[in-house]
Amino acid sequence: MIHICNVPRYQAPSAEELAEMRKHHVLLRSFDYERTPIMRGYTDKILTIDVGEKSAEIADIPAEVKEKFVGGKGYCLRYLWDAVNPQTRWDSPENEIVMSPGPIAGITQYGGTGKTLICTISPLTDIPIDSNVGGFFGPYLKFAGFDALEIKGKSEKDVIVVIDATKGTISFEEAPLEHFDAHVLCEELTALYADDENDKKNIAVAAAGSGADHANIGMLNFSFYDPRRGVTRLKQAGRGGIGRVFRNKKIKALVCKIDGVKANLNNAYDFGLINKTGLKFHREVANNDTKQNDMRGVGTAYSLRTLADYDIVPTHNFKFGDAPGIDEMTAAVFKSDWLTQGAADGCWYGCSMACAKASDHFLLKTGPYKGQRVCVDGPEYESAAGLGPSCGIYNPQEVLEINFYCDTYGLDTISYGTMTAFLMECYERGILNKERTGGLDLTWGNAADDLEMMHQIARGEGFGLIAGLGIHKQKEYFAKMGWGDINEMNDFGMEQKGLEYSEYSAKESLAQQGGYGLTNKGPQHDEAWLIFMDQVNNQIPTFEDKAEALYFYPMFRTWFGLMGLCKLPWNDIVPADNALTDDPKMVPEHVENYLNLYYAMTGNKLDVDGMIRQSERVYNFQRIFNIRMGKGLRANDAIPYRSAGPVFEDEYLWREERYDTQLVELAGYTEEQVKNMSLQERMAATRKYREAQYQTLIDAVYPKRGWTLGGVPTVEHLKELGMDLPELLEVVEPLLAEEGA
């Protein structure tokens, strides 16, 4: 086992290199500003920068926006709506990247309080994407005086934007000598803008990477400086192609500099209550984590083994779920051989859960940094499962190397993993071959060619350009080229609304099929992770139960994104006596903690109904935003059949007994009938049953959410929420009239 005591410090860029870089910086334009102090979690200011015009404006956030949209994702969506129109696409100049940390973000007394939400019109989905990220940039942005940052326009040349709260300046600069890949660029900019070694912790950088120049699955890294290791580390706003938009605007990086993190920069209403609530949480982590999930030891990859036991780990592009080689890369293996133990691995100050694990001085075997030793963050569960078993890869070294290059190139590990698995299945089925891939052998488990494909994305060449399209556009391209049948690819290409699935095989959980399919942004589990509650615990057996869960949990989980909170401390650690509560799955004591944090920050009392109401306003706004952009109706909530059942014969035969039994126990066939059916007939009957179940689920969920059966929020529901805003009614009323609702 590797302990932090034995990890040597990383080498910083040399003073000569930095001096040369600094010499080549060109100051294009600079603005002075007066920093607005934070009061009860808010500055009530938004900074708008136009990277085309090189302009910066600071505006008040109106009280009505604050009341209805709260912060975080709410602010992002509100300002994005105002910037775009139904014809706006990801690369339109008016498309914006909006980021906001939320009112609780930036406190250091409780776990998981450094999150920032980012929204833009996605190159994958053509609708708003929202993605959350840890690291320093969001909280520092708020400490610099801004509740939100709105980025618009397109620069002609690569530009960096520096918000220096210590001087009160916002500047646009050219920085031509710095690298593009995030692990180097963030290190260089941290060193360049810090006054000295001790000041590096006051620098936050947001940057994509060279892959984001060429791939719709490009993501955005947020840095956090790790003083113990002496290295700048990265967290990711992974989903939906935000990095692609960032690079399309020719932004090389954003830098934010502050004069230090202090205990109560948020000027909380009741700082004592925040302290008290945090101490309780930290004691719980100290006493229980090793007996529960061991987040401090392995991070979120703790669940790999258990999820494989339940056929949930996507294996060979979600075809199977048991990840047969998982013993080679369990949490225990990562902990004993790869992940440094004993470090304060929080991605924001004060997070005792410390799940941002790292593999230190990891030796790279491929690509432009071959032979170098680097710090690899993670892998998190999603990255490990998607880059590993879904592609038939079980070697931890290979998974870590792919993870590293995804991060530094600015590619979303989830989309990259799911997309590569799709390509590998296309290769297996003859839709792709070496001639079509330019020589890449995309056989299951071939990590070398998987990595080569990623390097091609970063270089913007060869098959990498096709890989960078994402599954939705790949399917269209393969069909157009006459390589594959679009209907078949629609069945096994794991994307919905254009976004690649995150890493849970939902075949045996109807609620999770809805948890993916009935999301606003596309199939990401952060809205509704119901798979164990449904499939294993059987706590929501009826359609009514599932519909209630698919109403409540997306709203409950949305609230974290309004506040700037990480969801993991909610239920990845629980009080020792949680089992004795009325509803252990909700972890009632932690919900109480969050209500206390909100009150202590803002001075406003809130109960669970109030939380849900805050979220529901934003959730319905996002749904109508989708409709405005051309998606967001029932047809757009359809899912690829593989998310619900077996597409191919070997897939059915893998769990033949289970599927045959279900035909009898659930679908109404007799044992005799099933015995006399061919394999194809049993598959067709299974499909008919499962697809009908999904439609019945939608029929139950939409009314619960206040929507018509066509998926449109009703005027009555919007009125009840106080969201009968003219611009929303303008979108929904014609559709409601068409539906006769």
Partner: protein, 65 residues
Amino acid sequence: MKLNNREYKGFREGLTVQDVIRENSFTWPKLVVKLNRKVIWPEEYENTVIEETDDLEVIHLLGGG
């Protein structure tokens, strides 16, 4: 006997909570176990015998990021 609201096919005389957990590969460390709505703590799994009419809940508390 019921396990998580479903008939448990493996019921037999002398079956314990620990047997059910083992037979079903419930390896998760954060289990909430209730027998007829009474919480059973881990140290009681081995000695808690289940009757044919009992209702056993073995709830996995898994976060999901």
